[in-house]
Symmetry: C2
Subunit: 349 residues, 2 copies
Amino acid sequence: TGTASDFIDLAVIGGDGIGPEVVAEGLKVLEAVSAAKVSRTEYDLGARRWHASGEILPESVEDELRGHDAILLGAIGDPFVPSGVLERGLLLKLRFDFDHYVNLRPATLFTGVRSPLDVARVAPDGIDFVVVREGTEGPYTGNGGALRVGTPAELATEVSVNTRFGAERAVRDAFARAQARPRKHLTLIHKHNVLSYAGHLWRRTVEEVGAEFPEVSTAYAHVDAATIYMVTDPGRFDVIVTDNLFGDIVTDLAAAVTGGIGLAASGNINPERTAPSMFEPVHGSAPDIAGQAKADPTATILSVAMLLEHLGRGDEARRVQEAVAADLAARGDAPRSTTQIGDAIAGRV
Amino acid sequence: TGTASDFIDLAVIGGDGIGPEVVAEGLKVLEAVSAAKVSRTEYDLGARRWHASGEILPESVEDELRGHDAILLGAIGDPFVPSGVLERGLLLKLRFDFDHYVNLRPATLFTGVRSPLDVARVAPDGIDFVVVREGTEGPYTGNGGALRVGTPAELATEVSVNTRFGAERAVRDAFARAQARPRKHLTLIHKHNVLSYAGHLWRRTVEEVGAEFPEVSTAYAHVDAATIYMVTDPGRFDVIVTDNLFGDIVTDLAAAVTGGIGLAASGNINPERTAPSMFEPVHGSAPDIAGQAKADPTATILSVAMLLEHLGRGDEARRVQEAVAADLAARGDAPRSTTQIGDAIAGRV
Ligand SMILES: CC(C)[C@H](C(=O)O)[C@@H](O)C(=O)O
Ligand SMILES: CC(C)[C@H](C(=O)O)[C@@H](O)C(=O)O
């Protein structure tokens, strides 16, 4: 057995659809870049297992997962699983049980990547920001209910739950990230003119925690206005902090303007390391292209870079990022298979 | 006194900032186009009145407003009114009390208008859809609360309230609109994989009401994915139906991709006409450019077209839309004042 620095004990959840395909390339790059010995334990979780056995995340499996250094996840789900079953029972369960309160999503427009935006006009200085999406509260807690379902008198509620404790730890993490970046700028995204109770909590938290970070300038945008800025002036953003649902929305939009979810990485991070953090591409299982070697593994490979960074292997993380950047810059229009892209990036690290 | 067809009894709330400036141009075009005699009653509501008297919407004023055929509103608010006061006390109060359950927001990329998107690539066939945003439920009901405010143990909730009654009437309106359009396509935007109680209510409602509209095809997009489509393939949308908060978000994004909120019109509609409907540009009071004749009145003028349509004056509505389209097509890069734009459009109707 080695020390943390020369051994990575990884849990791997390939999942469904293109999940296992992209994860294979992520692992390939991990092996290629890391001086650490990588131990991988594969977990069969997701739609396939649910169809076969009805199991989603058995407690014993969750206990095992808890023992690893980190989790690499591909994608979960297929169209035949009822909506919410795997999201709530597996993905969100892990985020909540493992206290992944920092859902970290970088948005960088790499050279050579096409944005749907008229970039020369709306983002002449590029796009490079990171979103700290709170991961354990907000409308994601499953707190809600329904009455008289299926009748004309049906009533359904969804309760967004927000605590100072929960907002503050995400906000503090976001400030620390802003502090470490050249521009040192933090934007809170919320909707405090309508969601006043939660909005004012978030707003005060940013003001108060901000006093600890005098070098970081702050801004605020309502979520609706933020979507406008995302497409008319995305260069204004440096670090964004926001709640779980707004973060879900703006990070998909951010992924789109920086070249699509084929490139968007994410980390579900437990900064205190009381449980393993989980790294996953933002995209889903894409059953329509599964098994055709068409999926772009870049988002997963960039998620591996985040995993390395989280495990204190910053140099290796940067080598992966640079290899991806070089690969993207060199990409022509000729289509490449999932494996070809993985090989190319692994060859560069 | 005339009949409905030759007399429009209008309530006008210019509001704050650029509000009165853009409303003046909207009224100019209304006078120019309409064969009806227009009676206008101006109401002094908004930040100015609140600063002067602490009044937001006195009951007697609301009663008076109720007596008009329709309301034209400019914009409300300034940076010195605490967040939420005028939103909750005036704008949302009118939407709720006057049962504006159809918040209608068209998104059309007019010829001659620049989109921040690389349109030739992502929207070669143009952008032309309309959003039916539910206007009286969801997270907008003000149902929430806070405990131990200002302490480390603070807790804040926001409750999204959804009823079959409320969703169904918005959904039925959206289907009827889809039925009347050439493409006859309706997309529900929600997040039913996470907000399961509300999401399933909306989903079932669309399925069941859809049975009454067999010619209308339907699609579904999670709100996060919908923001991606908005920038990578907005041409796919025809009619969108969605809840109050998702509608707020996607309509700002829709406005951005079709040339900005300077052009985005909206109607807060009570289809049963049990109270006056209210028409307003999507933009805010923009205090930074107020009084400088820089505001684009086009959004307000298009809102006037929606007002005319609602009052059964479809021909006049179309003339306004055509005049706006012609004006936009002829716009060069030379800046024009608010009044110049209003004059130009009024001259074309
Ligand atoms: C699959 C879904 C539950 C998830 C979310 O809403 O968080 C996804 O959209 C994401 O962004 O990771
Ligand atoms: C001002 C605000 C309350 C309002 C809303 O959230 O509905 C605005 O953003 C809009 O879209 O009309």
